[in-house]
Symmetry: C2
Amino acid sequence: MRVLDGGGVTSPEGYFAAGISCGIKKNGKKDLAIVCSEDISATAGVFTTNIVKGHSLQVTMEHLKSGYATAIVINSGNANACVGKRGYEDAKEIAKITAGLLECDIENILVGSTGVIGVPLQMDLIRPALEKLVENMSPDGGHDAAEAIMTTDLVAKEIAVEFEIQGKKVVIGGMAKGSGMIHPNMATMIGVITTDANISKSLLDKALKEVVKYTFNRVSVDGDTSICDMVILMANGMADNPAIIKEDKDYVKFKNALSYVCTDLSKKIARDGEGATKLVEIKVSGASTEEDAYKVASAIAKSPLVKTAIFGEDANWGRIITAAGYSGATFNPEKVDIYIGKLLVCKNGTAVEFDEAKAKSILQSKEIIITVKLNNGKFSDKIWTCDLSYDYVKINGSYRS
Amino acid sequence: MRVLDGGGVTSPEGYFAAGISCGIKKNGKKDLAIVCSEDISATAGVFTTNIVKGHSLQVTMEHLKSGYATAIVINSGNANACVGKRGYEDAKEIAKITAGLLECDIENILVGSTGVIGVPLQMDLIRPALEKLVENMSPDGGHDAAEAIMTTDLVAKEIAVEFEIQGKKVVIGGMAKGSGMIHPNMATMIGVITTDANISKSLLDKALKEVVKYTFNRVSVDGDTSICDMVILMANGMADNPAIIKEDKDYVKFKNALSYVCTDLSKKIARDGEGATKLVEIKVSGASTEEDAYKVASAIAKSPLVKTAIFGEDANWGRIITAAGYSGATFNPEKVDIYIGKLLVCKNGTAVEFDEAKAKSILQSKEIIITVKLNNGKFSDKIWTCDLSYDYVKINGSYRS
């Protein structure tokens, strides 16, 4: 498997994309994206578990019942959520206009929206822009699309990898946007993954579900699970590999490559979390159940006290063991070991003497691993998160203005 | 019932207190407190549910098995937690020395510690200071004690109320400290409540447990539940009222007064939360179960996105409904109404036109009520919290230094 330089959603065979500015974002930045496959694609989706759901997301869930899609249109700057019946109708209209332009069924168009909640979509801006969007589609348009789905993201998040299945070159590409209101709860932010692999719809669903669990569902920026989160995976089969129809070594190869793509995008989301200055990986091992490993990692990743200490480059491990203690997991506090990087700071639940200067230098790096060994069982988990800085407060103190 | 001017833990008959500086806090501020009753007191306690527990708290839980106490000694600046066997021995030694000075059993001395985790108690400073502490005790020492238990608190938190039971004047006083690592989980911060009421030990336990649930257990500053939290309620019976031994109208009067004291201290803790600029009350009604009402209130109170928006005085109600949606409670999003102050901002889960200037002016006040009506049942709840500001990040970025 090899990572493609500058790869993204248009790296696989037969995909076109575009990203343009239609005026939703007041600063003139791109705010309307499309990703389209030449052939209709088997498509899988994973959606937020928030019981409040954005209107565009609801239309996509409805359209995806068929299991196939031609294109997805995503706007940023407006979440199209909590605006009543009109929100559903607007999302439907975007799908209808796009279907007309692409000459396909309305059900084959998926729709996503991300941004401010409670403001009706600016359809007077979007309606006329859809034709231009479709006209702009190109096999090099992946980066524009990745830019057009950004909200508070500072960098576009993309990747593509190439591998072989029975002598045929197969590519998986992807893009995602963060960077706030992010916490695992069966789904995450907006992510679009494309592949030219030939794979059955049911295995596509299975692979996405399994991979998302340990990638996009292991990212926490602020503990808030959005109402517009979805990850869509399209597979158009144009790589012409013998179809993957059972869980054989080809499936494993595909799933590993998909996992690589989703892991990469997940880490990019955490690293670019709102106000983040550091990517933090919380590793938990030795839990007595799978659930307990997750609970401990999640509580630490969410703790504002842990996150501000990391921002302040302060090796305050007391906050780490405290978060573990209230996570709801069962373990013996007197068996817990905690490492900051490779530096042991707590052994058997008790402070150990450590070199504060060394701890500080570890915490000054851009990527930090915190390891919590519960020494209580065989289950482990990990979550990617970031620190909590002044800029998080700044960004979120006036998001709507 | 009447609130006593400048009242605190020494307002009830027969209580003495002191607060001195023994040198744990490097800035010379008070860091050692004692609250002592002339007569041995029936004493109730509620403790953190964090499975990691501070050593002083463990000693207090052990000593309180008898149900009676003479005094509680609390140090700030050091949590006496996660330092191994030594931590337990140090807490025991503080109790032993104090018992010697007060000529009582060691089991009648309770101990509390709050501050940095993982650093052994500075016993060389505490040991010689205990004699001075006891010498300094006076019936006017309540305020000094309240100051000596402060950590990042900006103001000492105290109150006392007076009421009558069968013609006898009864007083309840209290002090508490916040102001970070605070989230309900059956216990909270450190609080000491004193009363001269004559009440049976079992009713004292019952009253404290019931009152704490809707007062101290309804405060959230940052979602982190500390490992040193406890609320202690001492009753020495010196008011000489006919003993409260059943759940009659005298018990109700006592419980109402206790509730007033605990509510006042809880709101003071939220208002003085780390970096807080506003006290925020989250009211949830119309939930289909008691648990759901709590879940929704708690998720909103914890959400960094909601809290930063309030800091920024931005009426971003989309974040409020989002937090409700991921809280785990079951409700129909299309029936939810949200008010900021008395201003309706969301009706039936849908945006309503509202006066942004009016919303801004409501959010500029120091006390804000956010009401979420789920319109789904008959259960309600409320939580006090605060906004999330730059200063929270500043305070917690370098707590140990």
